[in-house]
C-alpha cells in the first residue's frame, strides 16, 4: 500500500474559473502530477489512457498481421485444386485461429485502442473514469491473446472453427487441449472486454466536459458507448457457453451431451446471442470514426447528427433480436424463422440512415481528397456491398441455399474488412498526427489505398461467385472438376495484393514515425476537442476543464459567427490528480474526482488471472488455487480505501467539514 497523504482531502471545495498558461509554474506542476516516470517501472504501472490506447492499437495490429499470415497460407493452399501444402488438420487450425484472431484479438481491441486514446481528449476529460481498470483491461487482453496462441506452436491450436459448435467441440470428437485453450482463453478475454466496456460506459456518463450535453457528443463516442453497452449484456453469454463447454469436457457435466439429454443447439443459441451483437460492437465504433472524420474532409458538419446517433443505438438494440438468422438451417420452427428473418431485414434501416447521411455529407460538402477521405469513401462503398449481401441472406430460402458457402465468407469479409479495417487505417492516417506529432505521407498513402482497395475487391468479390457455384466454406481443398479453379486463383492473387497494400501502409507508418513532417495541433482543421490539444497531447490532456457549448467547438466561429465554447479558460483542478465529474444528461459540474496514480496492481492482477486460467487449462488445481489467491491479493491492495482518494477518513481529530483551503 502506498500512502501519500496523512489527511484526506477536504470534503468540499469551491471550483473557480481561471487560466493556466503553457509554460507557467502551474502548468509544470500539472505535468509533473500526471506524468508517468520513464523506464520499465512506468511501463508496467502506467494508467495513462494515451499509453494504453497506443498499446491496444499496436497489439491489435500485431494480431492482425498474425491472422493475415494465416489467411495467406490458406490462400496458397486453395489457389489450386487438390493441393497438399496443408493437411486437413493444419487447415482446420489455421482457419479457426484466423477467425479467432481477427474477430476477437484484432477487430474490437483495435477500436478500443482508438477509443481509449481519443475518448478523454474528445470529451475534454483528464482520463477515463477508471484508469487502473483501463490498464487491467489491456493486460488481460494481451495475456488472453498469448493464452489463445499458447498451443499453436505444438500443433494443438483450436480447430473447430471460431464458432466452435458442439458436439464437434465436445470431448467425443476433440480430445486434445485445442478446445480447452479456446474455451478458457475466451473466458479470460471476456473479462478484459467487460471491464473495458464498464469503463467506457461510466466515462460516458460521468466524465464529459462541463456543458457537453448528450446532443453534443461526437458520434465515435456514441459508437463505442453502444458497443460497450452491448458487450456488457452479450459477453456473459459467450463466457458462460465456453465455461459450460469446458465443464462438459473436463468435469463431466451434460449441457451439450446429447446422449444424456443435453442439447447441441444450446451452444448455438448462447454463442449467437453473443456473437451477433458482437458483430455490431466491432463495426459501430468504426462507423463512428467515419461519422466524425469524414465531415472534416467534406468541410461541413455531418448531415443528420441526430438520426445517425439514434440509428447507432437502434442497430445494437435490434442486433439483440436477430441471432437466429445464423441458425436458419438448424430446423427450428417456421414462426421463429419468419420473426428473425424480418428482424434481420429491419436492421437494414438504421444502417441505411447512416449510409445516406455519409453520402449526403460528401454530396453537399466540398470534399478534399486526402488519404483519410479515400479510406472513408472506400468504406462507404464496401459497406453498401457487404450490407446488400447481408440483407439477401436475411431471406430464409436464400439463406438455406447459401449457408455455409463462400457467399457468406464474402459477405462477412466485406462487412468486417470494409467497415472495420478501412475506417481503422483511415483513422490512423487521420489521428497519426495527434498520436505522434507527425504527418503520414500523402503520396505513399494514396498508392497504399488503391492497392488495398483493388486487392480487397479482387480477393473477396469472386468469393460471392464461388459461393453461388456451391463451394462450401472450411474445406481444405477441392477437386479440379468442380468449376471453382479460376475464382479461387483470382481470390488468392487478390489476397496477396491486399497483403502488399498492408505492407505499404506499415512502411509509411514506420517511415513517418521518424521522418514525417511536423504536424502542429490541428493539421486537418478539424472541429472536435482532441484537436485543441498539442500533438501529441500533454500528460494532463487539458490544463483547465474546457466549457463546451456545441458539437463543433473549433468550428463555432465560422458556423455561427461567434465562439461559444471556452477552451482556454475554465474550471481549475490542480490539487493533485483531479478530474471533473459531470452529470449524466446535461454535463453540469457535479463532483471533483480524485484520480488514482500509477499502480502495479492491474499488471499483477492480470498475471494472477493468467496463472489461474493456466491452472484450469492444465487441470493443475494447485496452480489455479495459487492464481486465485494472487487475484484476491491484488484486488485487496487495489481496493483498500485510501486517504488521498477521499475514500476514508481516520485522522484522529474530526476536521471541519466543508473547509476551503
Amino acid at each position: 500500500m502506498t500512502e501519500h497523504a496523512t489527511s484526506p482531502p477536504p470534503l468540499q471545495r469551491t471550483l473557480a474559473i481561471g487560466r493556466i498558461e503553457p509554460g507557467s509554474a502551474e502548468e509544470r506542476k500539472l505535468r509533473e502530477t500526471w506524468e508517468t516516470p520513464p523506464g520499465w517501472r512506468g511501463w508496467l504501472s502506467t494508467v495513462d489512457h494515451k499509453s494504453i490506447g497506443l498499446r491496444y492499437l499496436l497489439t491489435a495490429f500485431a494480431f492482425l498481421i498474425a491472422g493475415g499470415i494465416e489467411a495467406l497460407i490458406m490462400r496458397v493452399q486453395l489457389a489450386r485444386p487438390d493441393s497438399t501444402l496443408l493437411t486437413p488438420e493444419q487447415y482446420n487450425q489455421l482457419f479457426t485461429m484466423h477467425g479467432v484472431t481477427m474477430i476477437f484479438l484484432y477487430a474490437l481491441p483495435v477500436l478500443s485502442g482508438f477509443s481509449n486514446y481519443l475518448w478523454p481528449l474528445i470529451l475534454g476529460a483528464r482520463d477515463m473514469a477508471f484508469p487502473r481498470l483501463n490498464a487491467l483491461s489491456y493486460w488481460i487482453f494481451l495475456f488472453a491473446g498469448l493464452f489463445l496462441y499458447a498451443s499453436f506452436p505444438f500443433g494443438e491450436a483450436p480447430n473447430a472453427g471460431w464458432f466452435n459448435y458442439a458436439p464437434l467441440a465436445g470431448l467425443t470428437y476433440n480430445t486434445g487441449p485445442n478446445i480447452d485453450v479456446y474455451a478458457l482463453g475466451m473466458v479470460l478475454l471476456g473479462i478484459s472486454t467487460t471491464v473495458g466496456s464498464m469503463n467506457f460506459v461510466v466515462t460516458f456518463l460521468r466524465m464529459r466536459a462541463p456543458g457537453m450535453s448528450l446532443d453534443r457528443v461526437p458520434v465515435l463516442v456514441w459508437g463505442t458507448l453502444t458497443a460497450s453497452g452491448g458487450n456488457l449484456l452479450a459477453v456473459p453469454s459467450v463466457s458462460l457457453a465456453f465455461f459450460l463447454l469446458w465443464l462438459d469436457r473436463r468435469i463431466g457435466t451434460h449441457f451439450f451431451d446429447v446422449v444424456n439429454g443435453g442439447r447441441a443447439l444450446l451452444w448455438q443459441h448462447l454463442f449467437w446471442i453473443f456473437a451477433h451483437p458482437w458483430v455490431y460492437a466491432v463495426v459501430l465504433p468504426a462507423m463512428g470514426i467515419v461519422s466524425d472524420a469524414l465531415p472534416v474532409f467534406c468541410r461541413r458538419p455531418l448531415v443528420g447528427y441526430l438520426p445517425v446517433a439514434l440509428s447507432t443505438v437502434a442497430t445494437m438494440v435490434i442486433g439483440f433480436v436477430v441471432w437466429i438468422h445464423h441458425m436458419f438451417a438448424t430446423g427450428i420452427p417456421a414462426l421463429a424463422l419468419s420473426f428473425f428473418g424480418a428482424a434481420s431485414m429491419v436492421i437494414a434501416i438504421p444502417s441505411a440512415v447512416a449510409t445516406f447521411a455519409w453520402i449526403a455529407t460528401i454530396w453537399t460538402g466540398r470534399p478534399v481528397f486526402r488519404v483519410p477521405f479515400l479510406y472513408f469513401a472506400g468504406f462507404v462503398f464496401l459497406f453498401v456491398i457487404g450490407g446488400l449481401s447481408g440483407v439477401l441472406t436475411a431471406a430464409v430460402p436464400f439463406d438455406w441455399q447459401l449457408t455455409d458457402t463462400y457467399f457468406v465468407v464474402a459477405h462477412l469479409h466485406y462487412v468486417l474488412l470494409g467497415i472495420n479495417v478501412f475506417p481503422v487505417i483511415g483513422g490512423i492516417y487521420f489521428w497519426f498526427p495527434k498520436f505522434t506529432g507527425r504527418m503520414m505521407s500523402e503520396r505513399i498513402g494514396r498508392i497504399g489505398f488503391w492497392i488495398l482497395f483493388t486487392g480487397f475487391n479482387i480477393a473477396f468479390f469472386p468469393m460471392h461467385i464461388a459461393g453461388l457455384l456451391g463451394m462450401p466454406r472450411r474445406i481444405y481443398t477441392y477437386a479440379p472438376d468442380m468449376g471453382w479453379n479460376t475464382v479461387n486463383m483470382i481470390t488468392s492473387i487478390g489476397a496477396f495484393l491486399f497483403a502488399f497494400g498492408v505492407l505499404i501502409f506499415m512502411w509509411d507508418f514506420v517511415y513517418s514515425l521518424r521522418r514525417g513532417p511536423v504536424a502542429g495541433d490541428n493539421p486537418w482543421d478539424a472541429p472536435t476537442l482532441e484537436w485543441a490539444t498539442s500533438s501529441p497531447p500533454p500528460p494532463y490532456n487539458f490544463a483547465i476543464a474546457p466549457r463546451i457549448a456545441s458539437r463543433h467547438p473549433l468550428w463555432e466561429e465560422r458556423i455561427s459567427g461567434k465562439m461559444r465554447s471556452r477552451l482556454d479558460e475554465g474550471y481549475i483542478l490542480d490539487k493533485g490528480r483531479e478530474a471533473l465529474g459531470t452529470t449524466a444528461l446535461d454535463g453540469d459540474p457535479d463532483v471533483i474526482l480524485k484520480m488514482p496514480e500509477d499502480s502495479y496492481a492491474p499488471f499483477w492482477l492480470g498475471v494472477a488471472s493468467l496463472v489461474f486460467f493456466s491452472g484450469l487449462a492444465l487441470t493443475a488445481w494447485w496452480l489455479a488455487a495459487l492464481g486465485l489467491i494472487g487475484c484476491g491479493a491484488a484486488i485487496v491492495v487495489w481496493l483498500w480505501p485510501r486517504r488521498e482518494l477521499g475514500q476514508r477518513d481516520d485522522t484522529p481529530e474530526p476536521h471541519e467539514t466543508g473547509a476551503t483551503p
Binding site: L15, L133, R216, T253, I273, P589, Q647, D649, D650
Partner: protein
Amino acid sequence: MSDFAEALPERARLPIGSPGERSGGWWGCLTLVATEAALFGYLIFSYLYLASQTTQHWPPEGMPKLGLGIANTCILLSSSVFVWASERFVRRGKRGMGVLMLAIALALGAIFVGIQLKEWADHPYGLTTHLYGSLYFTITGFHMMHVLVGLVVLAFLLLWTALGYFDRARSAALTIGGLYWHFVDVVWLFIFATLYLSPYVLAK
C-alpha cells in the same frame, strides 16, 4: 442546455473524492451488476431451454423440496436489511452499531452458505449424475461463488468500519459493497423461482 459556455456557473461548490452515489465506484458497480445480471439471465435461459427440450421426467428425482429453501431465502434476504442498516448507522456517526450490523449480516450470509451446503449434500445426485444435476449444481454453484465473494466484501467492510475508516461523509465503500450484496440477494430470488418454483408451475 444553454448555447453559451458562460451559462455554466462561475463558481461551483462541489464535493471531493468519493461521495456516495456521485463516486465513480458507485457507477462502476452498477455496470458490474448489469453484466452479472445478464450472466444469471443466461444461466436461467439455459435451464429453461433445456427443461423445455427434455424428454426425461423433470426434475428426474421428483419435485424440489421447498421448506428449507424458503427458510434459507428469508435468511439471505434479511441479511440485506442489516447491510443497509450498517451504512445508516455509520452515516449517523454510530460506528459500533455499524460494525454490529455488518457482523449480523455476515453471520446470516454464512448460515445461508451452511444450509445450502447441507441441501447440496442431501441431494441423491451430483454435478455429473445427469443433465438436471449439472444445471442445478452449476447454477447454485455460480450463486454460491457470488455469495462467498460477497462475504469477503462484507468482512473487509467490517474490518474497515472497525478501523474507523468511514464517517458521516465518507462511506462510499459501504454504499458500493452494499449494492453488490443486495444484488447477490435479489438474484437469488430469480434462481429460487427457477429451480424451486418453476417445476411446480410447468408441471401443470
